[in-house]
């Protein structure tokens, strides 16, 4: 990997100052993705600013919500009692990802910013618009079994690989940041961009902007879960995943918050399915109709066409499970 300098920030403002805005520096969390990408020569920062000593706290809010320090590890997040009790889908999503060793290192902020696992993105010899804007995309006609059926463009079909983010977008998480223009907050669902013509620009963050914490509003209900479908029983990225929280009252869906992973270019909030569900009878046919509504615009490629049906089936199964409907 390219030689680089390393510094550790004592507070967010120092981190901001050390990173600057010239694009030559990166924040370093657990390093489980960034260092990997540096070894693969996909990332080549001149300076690393370690932010793992910044806030690692997970605190309750008066309204019943939660604030998670960006440097909290994935392990700490999944093990936290309030998370397990109030937001079981989040604990399950985190535990469904990576391995215990990686989760021990990986931070919440880093997880949000992890980059795609597209095999053409990782291969220097391949064309990739994310690595080199305008170069072309070798995944379009290549091995695209892992790739997106939602939110893709002719420039990029790479999926966002995070499990944690799928749960967080379902939970209406809000990302708090510190930038040169001060603090701001961005709903997580708006943080990641669709690739369109510029897949190299992945988020709305400005140069040097630091994620400081993630805020969760109170849960809709404790009846939430995360289901991940993958090629082996552990340590594989999702082909399809579903994060779901459903409030069923008197046999009707009062409200639902749903998100999909493994199928889209960003953590995918299933707004259409939610809309289709609200006020409907909590039955398998309504769940199926909601799944169909969400995937109406899904587009399959040579190897990933199966994800469309798989996503629908998984969504229906998760809704049935949460609503206590037999399949």
């Amino acid at each position: 990997m390219k030689p680089f300098t390393y510094e550790r920030a004592r507070d967010p403002n120092e981190a901001l100052r050390l990173v600057g805005t010239d694009g030559g520096a990166k924040y370093l969390g657990g390093g489980t993705n960034l260092v990997d990408l540096m070894r693969e020569r996909i990332e080549a920062p001149e300076r690393l600013v370690d932010v793992t000593r910044l806030s690692t706290e997970i605190e309750g809010k008066p309204d019943g919500g939660l604030v998670i320090g960006a440097a909290a590890t994935n392990t700490a997040l999944a093990a936290h009692r309030a998370i397990r009790e109030q937001y079981p889908m989040l604990a399950r999503a985190v535990l469904a990802g990576a391995s215990a060793q990686i989760r021990n290192m990986a931070t919440v902020g880093g997880n949000v910013l992890q980059r795609t696992r597209c095999i053409y993105f990782y291969d220097e010899a391949s064309r990739c618009n994310k690595r080199e804007p305008g170069a072309g995309c070798d995944a379009l006609d290549g091995f695209n079994r892992m790739h997106a059926i939602l939110g893709a463009s002719s420039a990029c079909i790479a999926t966002h690989p995070s499990d944690m983010c799928v749960a967080l977008v379902a939970l209406d998480a809000v990302v708090h940041t510190l930038g040169v223009e001060g603090e701001r907050s961005i709903p997580l669902v708006d943080l990641h961009r669709l690739p369109a013509g510029r897949p190299d620009i992945e988020t709305e963050l400005k140069p040097g902007e630091l994620i400081t914490k993630i805020e969760l509003p109170p849960p809709l209900t404790k009846r939430s879960t995360y289901r991940k479908v993958r090629d082996r029983a552990s340590y594989a990225f999702a082909l399809v995943s579903v994060a779901a929280e459903v409030d069923v009252t008197n046999g009707k869906v009062r409200d639902a918050r749903l998100a999909l992973g493994g199928v889209a270019t960003k953590p995918w909030r299933a707004w259409k399915a939610e809309e289709a569900l609200r006020g409907q009878a909590a039955t398998e046919p309504s769940f199926r109709a909601a799944a169909e509504a969400e995937l109406v615009e899904a587009a399959g490629l040579r190897h990933n066409e199966f994800k469309i049906e798989l996503a629908k089936r998984t969504l229906v199964a998760v809704l049935c499970e949460l609503a206590g409907v037999a399949t």
């Binding site: 030689p3 696992r117 391949s126 070798d138 798989l310």
Partner: protein, 769 residues
């Protein structure tokens, strides 16, 4: 290997006339095969303690003064030429001592291709870094030496190359159009017909006839390929991770124009071999760079480099057609197909081998072709051929049982042959019917509902399947053992053989202790160094028998030597070698408990510190006279999610018939390891070879899915333990058979669970939706 076996065969034909009668196969069985003391005992690996303490030093850990570390650059095109290469920035980078390309590499001969002679080890016959030409996507085009690995890797990234691209054949479909029939498949005919299989099939009452496809698979031993290399004058020393040290030394000597004895290969510890730890470009490039730089070199392949430089199991497309008579016997068995290969290697993937020996059929036709691609040389990977061949054949058997509406085990019982169906020779020992019966009982096969999709647990469909596993018995010629017996009653058995974690050193110490009638702690086994008497490849599941036969030969030299030393004052005085046996730490007269003298006593009276006997194993004539194979019945229970198609193996049992089991602990590990590798073959593993570029796209353990712990269920292992009367110690090979049959057992279980017959590996969930 074809020529290797041909060489062995012609040598053996001479040897039939020259060897003494007692070694003609079948004349006498090894008396050890009936001993039940140390043999068969669950002795823990002698290298285990060193390994868990981190004290076993592997090839990448050998300490050396002035070591330079190698970084590699791989080509990004499949075929063409290097038009321009700029190494300036790399040479100027921190810590860099040397950049080697075809422009400055020492002149070297191409390595002798494995199989062209018994001492040839080259995985490919292409010259290495001798000109600008590119033969596969991933070929090494530059080696950087630096003071640290990080400096070497960084400098390697600075090298800029411009290629002139030439058209390459990187599509299997395209290559299949001009497939060729190789001269032989590992010494066996590429095509073989008994009767008229086409006519037999046409006239059969029930026919199944399908195409089965298997993908590329890559070697992923935990230990990365590595060598620490030093030139001492005109002596070249390679600390390697190797499963064929002697042939590696000979071949490297040939490359550099040296005599064999000028190259020493040392490889005491290997972190997994499986056929992949042979001679590839990296040892030769490392030696060349060390020569050029005038300093020792460490070359450790990254995981990506293992994928780019070390071949794996190749892709196959196989047809199996079975025609059955009304009584369930076979009128016709056809197994044909094509495997991807290159023009510069010799590994045709012998997938038709099982069909040549497993079943009685009135008409048999087997035929193999190869399709040449511009790609990295494919190679031997745990049961090459048999692993993927049994997937096709044993899936087809299950399909036939279904069509005939008879139990798949019963079908196999009905077509059990009395003698080898293609060679006509007798089986040395074959108890597959018994292995099936015992396996079925232990596994609970009677609980299987033959109607697919009839067992369910919530979302999960449950099914059971079985398949036959088989792997040939090989014993390779040339193994020479040395027994050193000292006055303290300690014995050292030595041969340049290999311990890659299988338990060779432990098992051979057990066998030697039993043979010499010494306690285990008095016996050690030295291996992994070409300075020792020559061994054979740790391949073809042959090593235990190959070493065992040489130890028998050395023991037969040792006994007369001891009797001569014993002289006239010994209780053994006047006895001939044929009248004594090893007993209680010495020799004794057969059937006379009183007549005995310990080794220590014999040696001390003779005033000797030690006695040494060295002998070469006789030619493996037993392979010619008998049809010798290991067998197993593999049983799988699988759960397939009806919603998502996810398939998870929930139980597995292997019932093995491999002759005597010499160490129940290490043998069980070998079988289990093979089965786990088979689960990867069946369900998760696949090398993604992009046919547009000829490039492997998933060269990492994150994207190449070997089974993880959660994918591996409880695995039960049982065995018949029936000695083979025609092999040393009564044992046949156990290293590779475990992976065979697993693909089909899983596929058959999935069929039973879901009613879906998948004929293409790996069986990923999209195929089951």
């Amino acid at each position: 290997m074809s020529a290797l076996k041909d060489t062995a065969k012609s040598a053996m034909q001479t040897a039939v006339r020259l060897t003494p009668d007692k070694w003609l196969p079948g004349a006498t069985s090894d008396p050890l095969m009936h001993k039940h003391g140390l043999l068969g005992a669950p002795v823990s690996r002698v290298d285990g303690a060193l390994k868990v303490q981190g004290k076993a030093r592997f090839a990448a850990e050998v300490a050396m003064e002035g070591l330079a570390y190698a970084g590699l650059v791989h080509s990004t095109i499949a075929r063409g030429r290097i038009a321009a290469i700029d190494t300036g920035a790399a040479e100027a980078a921190p810590g860099v001592g040397l950049v080697m390309t075809y422009k400055n590499a020492p002149r070297m001969k191409a390595p002798a291709l494995f199989g062209t002679s018994p001492s040839a080890a080259g995985a490919s016959s292409l010259p290495i870094m001798q000109d600008a030409s590119i033969h596969w996507n991933g070929q090494t085009v530059a080696v950087v030496l630096a003071e640290t690995q990080e400096q070497a890797d960084y400098a390697a990234s600075l090298i800029e190359i411009r290629y002139e691209v030439e058209p390459a054949v990187t599509s299997f479909e395209m290559a299949k159009g001009r497939a060729r029939r190789p001269e032989s498949i590992l010494g066996e005919p590429a095509e073989l017909e008994i009767g008229d299989a086409k006519a037999g099939l046409a006239g059969a009452a029930t026919v199944v006839d399908h195409i089965y496809r298997t993908p590329r698979y890559n070697h992923n031993a935990i230990e990365l390929h590595a060598a620490t290399i030093v030139w001492e004058g005109d002596q070249l020393i390679i600390h390697d991770a190797s499963q064929l040290v002697n042939a590696t030394a000979s071949t490297v000597a040939g490359v550099f124009g040296l005599k064999d004895h000028q190259v020493r290969v040392i490889s005491p510890y290997v972190g997994g071999g499986f056929g992949g730890k042979c001679l590839w470009d990296h040892q030769i490039l490392g030696a060349a760079a060390a020569k050029l730089a005038g300093r020792p070199v460490r070359i450790v392949l990254s995981r990506e480099s293992v994928f780019r430089l070390v071949g794996g199991r190749t892709t196959t497309e196989q047809r199996v057609a079975l025609g059955a008579n009304a009584d369930g016997t076979l009128a016709a068995l056809i197994h044909t197909g094509v495997a991807a290969m290159t023009t510069h290697n010799a590994c045709p993937e012998q997938f038709t081998f099982p069909a040549r020996h497993l079943y009685a059929a009135q008409n048999i036709h087997v035929a193999q072709e190869v399709a040449d691609l511009d790609m990295l040389a494919n190679t031997f990977m745990r049961a090459p051929g048999e692993s993927v061949g049994t997937f096709a054949l044993e899936s087809a058997m299950d399909e036939l049982a279904e069509a005939l509406k008879i139990d798949p085990i019963e079908l196999r019982r009905r077509i059990e042959p009395e003698k080898d169906p293609t060679s006509g020779t007798r089986f040395s020992s074959r108890n597959i019917v018994e292995a099936y019966a015992r396996g079925a009982e232990h596994f609970g096969w009677s609980r299987r509902n033959p109607v697919p999709r009839s067992q369910r647990d919530g979302e999960w469909l449950i099914g059971m399947g079985c398949a036959t596993a088989t792997y040939p018995y090989y014993r390779f010629p040339g193994a020479t053992a040395r027994i050193t017996l000292n006055a303290d009653g300690q014995a050292i058995v030595a041969m340049a053989s290999h311990e890659m974690g299988m338990g060779t050193a432990t098992t051979q110490a057990q066998a030697a202790a039993e043979r010499l009638a010494l306690p285990l702690e008095n016996v050690s086994f030295e291996y992994g160094d070409t300075a020792l008497p020559p061994g054979t490849v740790a391949g073809g599941s042959s090593q235990t028998a190959s070493i065992g036969a040489a130890v028998i030969a050395a023991f037969e030299e040792l006994v007369p030597a001891l009797l001569q030393l014993a002289g006239n004052d010994s209780p053994l005085a006047g006895l001939k070698a044929s009248e004594v046996e090893a007993r209680d730490g010495g020799l004794g007269k057969i059937d006379d408990p009183q007549s005995h003298e310990s080794y220590a006593s014999i040696l001390s009276r003779a005033g000797r510190k030690e006695v040494v006997a060295e002998a070469k194993a006789p030619m493996p004539l037993e392979m010619q006279k008998y049809s010798m194979h290991s067998y197993a019945a593999q049983f799988c229970e699988v759960r397939v999610n009806a919603v998502t198609g996810e398939a998870r193996v929930s139980r597995f049992l292997g019932s093995f018939d491999c002759g005597r089991i010499l160490n129940s602990k290490t043998a069980a590990s070998q079988f289990k390891g093979g089965i786990i590798m088979g689960l990867g073959l069946a369900l998760t593993e696949e090398t993604l070879f992009d046919e547009r570029s000829g490039r492997i796209m998933n060269p990492s353990l994150a994207e190449y899915h070997v089974p993880v712990h959660l994918d591996v269920p409880a695995i039960d292992i049982i065995w018949t333990d029936i000695p083979d009367p025609h092999s040393p110690m009564g044992a046949r090979g156990i290293g590779e058979i475990g992976i065979t049959g697993v693909g089909a057992a899983v596929a058959n279980a999935i069929y039973n669970a879901t009613g879906k017959r998948i004929r293409e590996l790996p069986i990923t969930l999209d195929k089951l939706l």
